[in-house]
């Protein structure tokens, strides 16, 4: 039984890792698509979104099976609950990558002003998001709660860039009236990236939630006194 | 994984030895049954001719060359009863003590060892001991009392053993169940353990009776009369007994030729009594078991 449950968990972990890589690639290519206005690449992303969705469903059903068959408790339970939530967060991030790709595919302009892109810090935002994704993937695979917690702060910068973007776009649109539709649509990209940051924050919290108790438990002597107090209270 | 190479035709050999083993077991079992039936058949064949109402109800006459065996039947039944009165209370109580009160410890191991040894003592030694103690020392003389006491001693190990075994097989959870309700040990034994052990105890008792009824040696010096045609009037009287009667008329009779049919008749009656007792044991056992199940 020990072996079974262990190998099932390893399997789930591997699936989530694959899902993660898939979503990371989607987002990475979305960035390229935006920066180079590559419609073909954007179309590929849109097509591949279906794989992300399918993967999400598979992980969901595997988690369901696992819970039904193995009655996980304690760290196992927290792990699969975390997986369930991380899975849906990743799927949403995939959705955003897809949305950004659609923006690139459907926007009716030949070129985006380089100055505008720089002012908006689109690339920085993508870099941040991708960094967070990567860091969290590592934290998840290495069961490193501290690494996951470190990501929590990075979210603020995304918010800042996004807030600034609104003014910049309005300004730009004022001066380039033919770019109004572009600016209007472009706003969506920032919203999506900002939302991605929220989901990444959630993922970070999930990872901390599932690992945290386990980490505490490694230093028995110290937590003996820590854990006694809630018992005594009753 | 590579599967091992099984030796050729091993299955066949396996099945063949299986068949041979079973055949052997069957033959031996049938052989036992055959021997039993042969003995039984022989006795019936030889003895059934003399069985009649008179044979069962008349005392022997003409120097035991004719007449019946009534006093011997009565004597045997009396001895069975007497030994039961001696052995059952003592034996059952010892059994209970050993299993319920002191099932561990050196004293019980010692008692158990002694009872085991006691059951290995030849019955003639019991007879000798009975004669020395009851007949001579206590002055009971050759009597039903002395005979019953001796036979009682003889069957004691068996009674203790069966009681102990019967109680040992009762799962301890029943004892705990009773004790956990605030019952004392005595209440537990009396109300739960004994009723549960009863079927097997009774079976053991009856089987010990069967054994007693067939014993010759212990009553040889303590009780049995060579010829005592009237019925005993008190427990200090001697009496006749079937096995002893059989022994006497087959070895030192006045006319062994003429007495032979009587001997077979006596044997038949003795076997019949033992058979009845054993059947009774089976019946009692089933009765008590059913009562436990459906009461």
């Amino acid at each position: 039984m020990v072996k079974f449950i262990e190998s099932e968990l390893v399997q789930l972990r591997r699936e989530v890792d694959q899902m993660w890589t898939l979503v990371y690639n989607q987002m990475d290519q979305a960035r390229q698509a935006v920066m180079t206005l590559d419609r073909q690449l954007a179309q590929q992303i849109v097509v591949r979104e279906r794989r992300v969705d399918a993967f999400e469903l598979k992980i969901d059903s595997d988690v369901e099976d696992f819970i039904a068959l193995y009655n996980p408790v304690a760290v196992d339970l927290r792990f699969v609950l975390a997986i369930l939530k991380i899975n849906s967060d990743l799927e949403r991030i995939g959705d955003y990558a897809d949305g950004i790709a659609r923006f690139v595919r459907d926007i009716d302009v030949q070129e985006i002003d380089d100055r505008l892109l720089q002012d908006l810090q689109v690339d920085t935002m993508f870099t941040l998001v991708l960094n967070m994704l990567e860091e969290l993937q590592e934290a998840f695979n290495e069961e490193d709660a501290e690494k996951a917690a470190a990501v929590l702060g990075m979210d603020d910068q995304l918010d800042r860039i996004k807030r600034a973007s609104g003014g910049i776009l309005i300004d730009y649109a004022k001066h380039n009236t033919d770019a109004i539709p572009l600016c209007f649509e472009f706003g969506g990209v920032f919203r999506k990236l900002e939302r991605t940051g929220d989901h990444l924050t959630n993922i970070a919290e999930e990872i901390v939630f599932y690992i945290d108790a386990k980490v505490l438990k490694h230093n028995d002597s110290q937590e003996k006194s820590d854990k006694k107090s809630p018992e005594g209270k009753k | 994984m590579e599967s091992p190479r099984y030796p050729d035709r091993y299955d066949l050999r396996k099945r063949r030895s299986q068949w041979v083993a079973f055949a052997l077991f069957r033959v031996f079992s049938l052989f036992i049954a055959f021997v039993l039936f042969a003995i039984l058949g022989f006795i019936i064949y030889k003895g059934v001719g003399v069985i009649s109402w008179d044979f069962l109800t008349e005392p022997p006459t003409d120097g035991m060359t004719s007449g019946g065996i009534f006093p011997a039947i009565v004597g045997t039944l009396l001895l069975m009863l007497g030994s039961a009165i001696v052995a059952f209370p003592v034996g059952i109580m010892s059994g209970i003590y050993m299993n319920e009160y002191a099932s561990r410890g050196w004293l019980v191991r010692f008692i158990r060892l002694m009872t085991n040894n006691l059951s290995g003592v030849p019955s003639i030694v019991f007879g000798l001991f009975g004669m020395a103690l009851f007949v001579k020392y206590l002055g009971f003389g050759d009597s039903i009392l002395a005979g019953s006491l001796t036979l009682g001693l003889l069957s004691l190990p068996l009674v203790i053993r069966t009681t102990e075994e019967a109680l040992k097989d009762i799962p301890s959870s029943y004892r705990e169940g009773s004790l956990a309700l605030g019952a004392t040990k005595l209440q537990t034994i009396w109300k739960v353990i004994l009723p549960m052990g009863m079927p097997r105890i009774i079976t053991g008792l009856i089987l010990s009776l069967g054994r007693v009824s067939g014993e010759t040696a212990p009553i040889l010096f303590t009780c049995a009369a060579y010829f005592f045609p009237q019925l005993p009037s008190s427990i200090f009287d001697q009496c006749m007994a079937l096995p002893y009667h059989l022994y006497v008329i087959s070895t030192s009779g006045t006319d062994i030729e003429a007495q032979q049919p009587i001997a077979y008749g006596t044997a038949l009656v003795l076997i019949a009594i033992i058979l009845v007792v054993n059947l009774l044991a089976g019946g009692m056992r089933r009765y008590f078991e059913n009562r436990l199940k459906t009461k």
Binding site: V75, D76, L216 | S178
Partner: protein
């Protein structure tokens, strides 16, 4: 006042140190589950509360076990009175070879109650309390052995409850039963906790999780952890506990 207080109890079978320095408290009307691998001492510990271990020669206890503030191991404690106060249900159903009625009445009778109408009243109450009354009310005179395993176990619960204990010890009460009977017993435990404080030993972790308010994990004669059941099954504080409940033992 706590219903049960165990203060620094050590327990020995001869030289074997079966329970090591255990202290715990049990609240009135709580259900406390003892879990742990076989031989960890949880059953031994359970049997301290009605002094069932007294039956084992060479057993020795140090420390105190207080029920309602009274040390049940103090000299002068009458064991049969204690056992009326602390009922017990065993792993295998062990109804006596008597009628259903007599089984439930047994505890009352051995404790000297003769009043027929009172006995009849208590038997009915106890059988109702054990959710068995409707199934047996027409065959009270029938042998207890005629009941199914699950019914027998509920009969044993009724039997224990008939003498109105304030604590009920249950030693793996459902381990010999099928899932439906098990569910009934578990339901019953939730009902009974309104009247009594229950301590249950179980090998079925899910059962402990379902029925108990608090759970204590035992290992090698020590109480490794005792806490709210929710805590134990979501976030135990000891690694040993976690390894045990997640099935990664050893």
């Amino acid at each position: 006042m706590k219903k049960i207080e165990v203060k620094e109890v050590d327990f020995y079978y001869g030289k074997f140190h079966a329970l090591k320095h255990i202290s715990m408290e049990v609240e009135q009307n709580d259900v406390v589950a003892f879990i742990g691998p076989s031989g960890c001492g949880k059953s031994t510990f359970l049997r301290l509360f009605n002094r069932m271990n007294d039956l084992i020669p060479g057993s020795r206890l140090t420390g105190q076990v207080l029920i309602d503030g009274r040390d049940i191991y103090a000299p002068g404690v009458e064991i049969d009175r204690l056992r009326k106060e602390v009922g017990m249900v065993f792993q295998r159903p062990n109804p006596f070879p008597k009628s259903i009625f007599d089984n439930v009445a047994y505890g009352l009778r051995v404790n000297g109650i003769r009043d027929k109408s009172f006995i009849a009243h208590r038997v009915e109450e106890a059988l109702k309390g054990a959710a068995l009354w409707n199934e047996v009310k027409d065959k009270l005179k029938a042998s207890a052995f005629a009941l199914s395993g699950g019914q027998q176990q509920r009969l044993c619960i009724a039997r224990a409850m008939a003498v109105s204990p304030s604590v009920l010890l249950m030693d793996e009460p459902a381990s010999a039963l099928d899932p439906i009977s098990t569910a009934k017993i578990e339901e019953l435990i939730r009902e009974l906790k309104k009247e009594v404080t229950i301590i249950i030993v179980t090998h079925n972790m899910q059962q402990a999780a379902r029925v108990s308010d608090r759970t204590a994990f035992f290992y090698m004669g020590e109480m490794v952890e005792c806490g709210e059941t929710k805590m134990i099954f979501t976030n135990p504080s000891k690694e040993a506990t976690q390894n045990y409940i997640t099935g990664r033992f050893g």
